[in-house]
C-alpha cells in the first residue's frame, strides 16, 4: 500500500512540476502593462519566436535575414520554426490554444480574419514606433486591418494571370491573339488548337478552383466580393457557370483540359508537388496562376530549363467590368496578442519588410513585395522572367479596383469545399446549379456557426 502511495505522490509531483513549468511561461508577464510597450532595457537578453510556412528556399532566405537582424540587434535572439502549409495551421492553432503562440507569425488571407476577430493578434498601431508602414501604399496598409485595427503588415501581394508556355505554342505554330483584351472564347480556341494540332500530346489548360480565380470571374461580372462582412455573397448563377466551364473543358471530344481523371491528378499536384504538374513537365500550354503566379513561374522555368514563358491576363468577356482586377494579399506578418515582447517583434517585422538588403534577397519568394522601394529595385535588376512579372504588375494595376472583403471567420475552408463541389460536377455526381447552391449554403453555415 505504501508503495502505491509513493507512486501517486510521484505522479502528483511530476504533474505539479509540469504545471509549474508551463504555468511560469504564462504568468511572468513583463512590461508596464500600459498601451505603449517599450524595448527591453539595454543589456537584457530577449528571445522571440518567428514562425512561417514555405519551401526550403524560403527557409534559407529567412534564416539569412534573421541572422543579419540578430547581428544588428545583439540582445535579441530569434527562435525560428517553419513547416509546410498544411502543418503550419495545425501547429499555429494548437500553439495559440496552448498559450505559446509564436511572437511573430506569417499570416494568410484565408485565416487572417479568424485569428484577428478572435483576439489572437496584436494591434500593431501600438508599436508603430518600431514598425514603419511608410513604404507601402495606403491600400496595402489597409489590407492588414480588420474593423479598423492594424492586425498585420502585408508583406506581399500575389497576382492571378495566365502562364503560357511559348515553346509549345511556337512548336505547334499557334499565335496568341492580343491578350490584353482577349475573351474566354479566344482562350478556349487557343487551348483547342494545342490539343488538336498535337494530337492530344499536349493539353491546353486545366480548370481551377481557387478562390482568387473565382473572385475575379465574379468581379468581371460586376460583383465586387464573394463575402460581404459575414454574409456569403457568391452569385449562384455565376458559380454554376464557372463550374459548367470546368465540366466543358474536361468532357466531349478532345477536351482542352484532358479527362476528368487527368484534371483530378493535376489539381492535387498543383496543391502538392508542383514538379508533377503537366506544366512543369512541359505537357501543358496554358495555366492559371491562381495566386501563386510568381512562384509557379519560377518553378516551371527551373523544371523545364527555359524562360520562354509569357504572362498574360485572365481572359474577360467584352462586357466585363473595366476595373475587375485586384491583387490578392500575399502574406502578412502578425504579432501574437500574447507576445511578451511586442516591441522587439515589431522591430523584426520592420526588418523583414523594410530592410533593403532583406528585400533584395527575398526577391519575389513571398510574392510581389508591398515595399515600393524594394519593388523598384527588384524590377531594375530583375532577370527577363521577373521583369515580365513586374511589368505585369504595372499592366494589371491599371485595371485594378477596390479589394474585396476579407474571408470571414469560419470560411477558411472555402477552397477545399469549392474543389469538392467542382469534383462532384466534373465527375457527373452533381449538376452545376445544385453544386453551387450547396456550396453557398455550406459556407454560409460554416460562417454562421464559427463565432
Amino acid at each position: 500500500m505504501k508503495s502505491k502511495n509513493k507512486v501517486i505522490a510521484a505522479i502528483a509531483a511530476t504533474s505539479a512540476m509540469a504545471m509549474a513549468l508551463s504555468g511560469c511561461g504564462g504568468s511572468a508577464t513583463e512590461g508596464s502593462g500600459s498601451d505603449a510597450p517599450a524595448l527591453a532595457p539595454k543589456g537584457e537578453k530577449v528571445s522571440i519566436t518567428l514562425n512561417w510556412w514555405g519551401s526550403d528556399a524560403r527557409v534559407k532566405l529567412t534564416e539569412s535575414a534573421v541572422k543579419r537582424f540578430e547581428a544588428a540587434n545583439p540582445n535579441i535572439h530569434v527562435d525560428m520554426q517553419y513547416s509546410d502549409w498544411g502543418g503550419y495551421w495545425d501547429k499555429l492553432a494548437t500553439s495559440v490554444a496552448g498559450d505559446n503562440a509564436p511572437d511573430v507569425m506569417q499570416m494568410d488571407e484565408s485565416y487572417f480574419s479568424s485569428y484577428a476577430s478572435q483576439g489572437s493578434l496584436y494591434d500593431l498601431s501600438k508599436v508603430s514606433k518600431f514598425l514603419d508602414f511608410g513604404n507601402m501604399s495606403v491600400d496595402n496598409k489597409k489590407a492588414g486591418q480588420i474593423e479598423g485595427k492594424q492586425y498585420a503588415a502585408e508583406t506581399s501581394v500575389t497576382l492571378d494571370g495566365v502562364i503560357v508556355n511559348m515553346d509549345i505554342l511556337e512548336k505547334l505554330g499557334i499565335t496568341l491573339p492580343d491578350t490584353s483584351a482577349w475573351t474566354w472564347k479566344q482562350y478556349e480556341d487557343v487551348c483547342q488548337q494545342v490539343v488538336d494540332k498535337s494530337n492530344g500530346e499536349y493539353v491546353g489548360t486545366q480548370p481551377t478552383f481557387g478562390g482568387y480565380d473565382f473572385q475575379l470571374w465574379q468581379r468581371q461580372h460586376g460583383k465586387r466580393s464573394m463575402f460581404t462582412g459575414n454574409k456569403v455573397s457568391i452569385d449562384k448563377k455565376l458559380m454554376a457557370d464557372y463550374m459548367q466551364k470546368a465540366y466543358d473543358w474536361t468532357h466531349g471530344k478532345n477536351p482542352i483540359a484532358g479527362s476528368p481523371d487527368k484534371w483530378s491528378e493535376q489539381f492535387s499536384a498543383v496543391n502538392g508537388t508542383l514538379q508533377d504538374t503537366d506544366m512543369a513537365k512541359g505537357k501543358q500550354a496554358l495555366s492559371f496562376g491562381s495566386g501563386g503566379l510568381s512562384s509557379q513561374l519560377a518553378q516551371y522555368a527551373k523544371a523545364l530549363g527555359t524562360e520562354n514563358f509569357k504572362i498574360v491576363p485572365m481572359p474577360a468577356d467584352r462586357s466585363a467590368s473595366k476595373k475587375y482586377y485586384y491583387m490578392k494579399p500575399g502574406m502578412y506578418w502578425s504579432i501574437s496578442a500574447k507576445s511578451k515582447h511586442p516591441a522587439e517583434s515589431a522591430k523584426l517585422i520592420d526588418f523583414l519588410i523594410n530592410d533593403d538588403q532583406t528585400g533584395k534577397e527575398f526577391g519575389t519568394d513571398r510574392g510581389i513585395p508591398t515595399n515600393k522601394k524594394v519593388r523598384k529595385e527588384l524590377a531594375a535588376t530583375a532577370n527577363p522572367l521577373d521583369k515580365q512579372l513586374f511589368d505585369f504588375v504595372d499592366q494589371m494595376s491599371r485595371i485594378s479596383g477596390d479589394n474585396p472583403d476579407p474571408t470571414p471567420n469560419g470560411a477558411s475552408g472555402f477552397t477545399n469545399a469549392f474543389l469538392r463541389k467542382l469534383q462532384d460536377v466534373v465527375f457527373d455526381k452533381s449538376k452545376p446549379d445544385k453544386a453551387a447552391e450547396e456550396l453557398v449554403s455550406e459556407i454560409q453555415n460554416s460562417v454562421d456557426t464559427a463565432s
Binding site: 508503495s3 509513493k6 507512486v7 510521484a10 505522479i11 511530476t14 504533474s15 509540469a18 498544411g86 495551421w89 495545425d90 492553432a93 494548437t94 495559440v96 490554444a97 479568424s114 485569428y115 478572435q118 483576439g119 489572437s120 479527362s259 476528368p260 481523371d261 487527368k262 484534371w263 483530378s264 491528378e265 492535387s268 496543391n271 502538392g272 469560419g410 477558411s412 475552408g413 477545399n416 474543389l419 469538392r420 469534383q423 462532384d424 465527375f427 455526381k429 460554416s446 456557426t449 464559427a450
Partner: protein, 310 residues
C-alpha cells in the same frame, strides 16, 4: 494462450496478493514511464475531450458550454453521414480480405518450405511500412494514370489512362488494396497459432481418412479460431482508425469528391481545418462508441464460433 492462463491465475489470487514483494519498488520504477504516459498523454486528453465535446471551442478563445448541440448538429451533417459510409465500406471490404490473405499465406508458409524465414520477413515487411507516409506517397504514384499499375496492365494489352487515385469511383478501393497488402502482422500471428495445433490431430484425422480440405475445416479452423477472433477484433479497430493513408493520398482533402473522406480525416478537418474542436471531440466519442459496439458484437458472436480448448 499462456497469457490467458496467467490472467486466470492472477484473477484467482487477487485477494491473497498481500505479501510484500521485494521487487515492488523496481517494478514501479519500470512502470513509471508507461504510467506517466498513460495518464498525461492518454487519460487526461481523453477526459478533456469528453468535456470539450459539450462545448464550442475554436482553440483561439476559451471553450463555451453548449450542451448536446454538437451531437445534434452531427446527425444533420451530410458529410458526417457520408464519412461514415466511406469508412464502413472500407472496413467491411478490407478487413475480411486482409484476414483471408493473411490466413492463406500462413497456411502455405506453415507447410515448412525452404527459405521460410525469408518469406516470412518479406511478407511481414509491408505491415511495418504500410501506415507510413512514404508508402502512401508511393501508392499515389503506383495508381496514378502513368503509374506502375497501369503500366502493368499495359503488358496485357489493356491500354488504360485511368487514374485509380484520381477517380472517385476507385480511389477508396486503392486504399482497401493498401490495407490488404499489409496482411503481414496478422499472418505472423496466424503462423504462430498454426504451430500450436497438435500434430496428432492431423495424424488421427488422416488415419480416419480425412482429406486436406476436411482437415483444414475441422481441425485448423476450430483450433485457430481464438487467433482468428483476435485478429478480427484488432483489424476492425485498426481500420476504423485509418487516417494517414487517406490523408496523404488525397492531400488532406478526402477527395476526389469526398471518396476517401474517412471518419478520422473528417474529424481532423473539422478540428484543425475549421477549428471546431468541440465538434471534433463529439465525433471522436461517437467513433469510440461505434468501435465499442462492433467489438461487443464480436465478443457476443464469438461464443458461437470460437473454440477454446481447455
Amino acid at each position: 494462450m499462456s497469457y490467458a492462463v496467467e490472467f486466470a491465475s492472477l484473477v484467482k489470487n487477487r485477494g491473497k496478493a498481500k505479501q510484500k514483494h521485494p521487487d515492488n519498488k523496481a517494478a514501479c520504477g519500470f512502470m513509471a514511464p508507461w504510467a506517466l504516459g498513460a495518464v498525461f498523454l492518454s487519460l487526461i486528453p481523453m477526459v478533456a475531450s469528453v468535456v470539450l465535446s459539450f462545448t464550442k471551442y475554436n482553440m483561439l478563445t476559451s471553450p463555451r458550454f453548449v450542451g448536446l448541440q454538437n451531437f445534434a448538429a452531427l446527425f444533420k451533417d451530410v458529410r458526417f453521414r457520408h464519412s461514415l459510409r466511406v469508412t464502413f465500406t472500407y472496413v467491411i471490404a478490407s478487413v475480411p480480405l486482409q484476414l483471408l490473405a493473411a490466413l492463406a499465406l500462413a497456411v502455405i508458409l506453415d507447410r515448412g518450405m525452404r527459405g521460410l524465414a525469408f518469406y516470412r520477413s518479406a511478407f511481414y515487411l509491408p505491415s511495418m511500412l504500410g501506415g507510413s507516409v512514404a508508402i502512401a506517397v508511393l501508392w499515389k504514384m503506383v495508381f496514378g494514370s502513368d503509374g506502375l499499375f497501369n503500366n502493368f496492365l499495359n503488358m496485357f494489352g489493356l491500354h488504360l489512362s485511368q487514374s485509380w487515385i484520381g477517380n472517385p469511383a476507385t480511389a477508396n478501393w486503392t486504399l482497401v488494396a493498401l490495407h490488404v497488402w499489409q496482411f503481414g502482422s496478422a499472418m505472423v500471428i496466424f503462423l504462430a497459432g498454426l504451430r500450436q495445433i497438435p500434430r496428432e490431430l492431423y495424424e488421427a484425422a488422416s488415419v480416419d481418412g480425412a482429406g486436406k480440405w476436411r482437415q483444414f475445416r475441422s481441425i485448423t479452423i476450430p483450433m485457430l479460431s481464438p487467433i482468428i477472433f483476435f485478429n478480427l477484433v484488432m483489424s476492425i479497430i485498426n481500420s476504423f482508425q485509418t487516417f494517414t493513408q487517406a490523408f496523404v493520398v488525397s492531400g488532406g482533402t478526402g477527395g476526389p469528391s469526398d471518396s476517401t473522406l474517412f471518419y478520422t480525416l473528417y474529424l481532423y478537418q473539422q478540428g484543425f481545418g475549421q477549428l471546431k474542436m468541440g465538434y471534433a471531440s463529439a465525433m471522436a466519442w461517437i467513433l469510440v462508441l461505434i468501435v465499442a459496439v462492433f467489438t461487443l458484437i464480436n465478443f457476443a458472436l464469438s461464443k458461437y464460433w470460437v473454440y477454446y480448448d481447455d
